[in-house]
Point group: C2
Chain length 360, copies 2
């Protein structure tokens, strides 16, 4: 028994009257040992409340049971939700999760990859800061046997697994819904084409237009950063233009906050003055007044899939590269006016459009 109070494998061995090798064997259950000895060892281990020293284990095995999630911003609802799911799934499989924020700075991402590789994590789930520049650390990690899977954004140049939402389909569906409600001048607020999800959502939007033979007007497309401030500015521009759109498709939850703020500033009501749809379904969207029509990404499934792919690759590093799409879900609520229904104040809705006056 060492001074710190923790029994070691030696203590167990001597108490059971066997060698440390035997103890190790029964503990790991690889090779078979005589039942009698096995029982003696187990008994001794229990009596001593033996727990293998994890630090020694990692050292010896040159590997750990850590996985990491490297994302631009854990405060973003999407990543927080994915993180939660990954943590949950990883825990079930005996892994513990590191959280790493890059703030979309590539260098920071590289630093983390380096650190995590040195720390011998079993795997990394990453939403990269730059799709076009797979920094050298990614390859280094791969070479060192770290399993890597990308989510949400592609990691070009690197032959790694990928899981992302059906951005194209989701955007196309919700845009189609708007068009069917009579909107033909629809503004879109998207992120940089440098990122797959932004690009795909914008493309899905445009496809819906084409589907219905509606001409695409360039001045209705605003490309901004992924932050709310950029979207706020873009919305202002869109709606103060000479011939403003009747509806706006906002390509992310983060950006939608800026859009909504802009609407407040302009004193425009949803959906009477302008209709709104947003990609992402933040928790407050259904409580908004009016409830916002959204495209929900299945964060849980994305996280679960990422972990599954990670575990698969940890087991079999040479498995064929995979790319998985996770379906989105359209939540039809009350933020899109049906232009065919004259004089209506509320469009088709899932929620009750009651209009009474009670308290006060």
């Amino acid at each position: 028994m060492t001074k710190n109070g923790q029994a070691t494998i030696r203590d167990v061995a001597s108490r059971a009257g066997v060698s440390v090798a035997t103890v190790s064997r029964v503990l790991n259950g690889k090779t078979s040992v005589h039942p009698t000895l096995r029982d003696r060892v187990v008994a001794a281990a229990e009596a001593l409340e033996f727990r293998a020293n994890r630090l020694a284990l990692s050292f010896r095995r040159r590997s750990t049971h850590f996985v990491a999630l490297v994302v631009p911003d854990i405060k973003n609802f999407f990543f927080a939700a994915v993180s939660h799911e990954i943590e949950e799934a990883a825990f079930r499989h005996g892994y513990t999760l590191f959280t790493c924020n890059t703030s979309d700075v590539l260098d920071r991402e590289a630093q983390y990859f380096k650190l995590l590789t040195e720390e011998a994590v079993a795997g990394i789930v990453v939403c990269t800061a730059n799709e076009h520049q797979a920094h050298i650390e990614v390859n280094r990690a791969l070479r060192r046997g770290v399993a890597v899977v990308a989510i949400d954004r592609r990691l070009e140049d690197a032959p790694i697994d990928l899981v992302l939402s059906d951005n194209f389909g989701g955007a196309r569906a919700v845009t189609g819904y708007m068009i069917e409600r009579g909107h033909c001048r629809i503004g879109v607020i998207s992120g940089s084409d440098d990122f797959a999800p932004a690009r795909e959502r914008r493309l899905g939007f445009e496809q819906a237009l084409k589907d219905r033979g509606i001409a695409h007007e360039d001045e209705l497309t605003k490309i901004t950063d992924f932050r709310d401030t950029g979207a706020e500015r873009a919305t202002l521009e869109l709606l103060t233009a000479p011939h403003p759109p009747t509806a706006i498709f906002v390509c992310s939850g983060n950006q939608s906050i800026g859009t909504l703020r802009a609407l407040n500033t302009l004193g425009l009501r949803i959906p009477e003055d302008v209709s709104i749809a947003v990609f992402d379904d933040p928790d407050w969207a259904g409580g908004f007044h009016p409830p916002i029509t959204t495209v929900e990404q299945n964060c849980a499934q994305i996280g679960a899939t990422a972990v599954a792919m990670l575990l698969r690759r940890i087991k079999d590093p040479s498995a064929p590269r995979e790319e998985r799409r996770v379906p989105t879900k359209l939540h039809i609520r009350s933020s899109i006016q049906d232009l065919f229904l004259k004089a209506s104040t509320e469009p088709a809705t899932t929620d009750r459009p009651a209009r009474s006056s009670a308290a006060s």
Copy 2:
């Protein structure tokens, strides 16, 4: 040079023509070594791109540079923000962060403490699942030299550092603001008194009432869980009662979503039909229609303080226990009607209450 391509301290030693002990000494800079040898070692290390094996280091030193954040739910905006801050600060000091969700299950918290202790983390920042039951693992961690600081909720029975918001003051201030606008029947939706923040916010609310000599009415207080669904139900009850309040103070951002949903269901407008204030300032609050008056917790400062306290305790385990309060900030927006201003549709506000009609 070992097979995996990483130079070891031995490689450096032989290349520099010195013993491993000397290499170790110059690398750690504890004892002094002759400048000549020192230079040779440094040169060799650089030539070989030597990086000490972290797994071996942890094993040898019996300690790591990991810290952990153990919280009920990382999806909760408050914890996500705190997590971000902790990660940032920790990274600056050479620590990497583990994220651990307990889902408010005490047993899960204990499991994590056990694991983290075995993994020899340097410190744990925890928002406990149960204030009254400091499970044995906390003490075990403490005994094993893990620094622990609690945030948001107290960890009773355990003599550990603590940092939380000025819940009482924040609640008192915003309630006072409502009263000054003429509200004297104010409903409050709070969480279980078993948790310090809920208790303190409710108490702050009641104190504001007392401050102005307003009688407290029991049926205006609703205690629910911290989830939005509980708050939704509570709001419904509050507002369909015979004599409903003119305003509601919601004690957390999570709960406010349920409250807002309930208002939509009832078709009640803010602030014309009912005024709203919420504790917590989720990112969407300012974009809501109308913008919501909130009490913001300074997540960044809470996180930074927690890390500072953690580092201090890592350095000096016997430092005196500390308890720190972080001030809150009142955001006055447009969700509280001024009952003294007759016929008004919008109360005093920071935002512009314009009412025009543009697009479409």
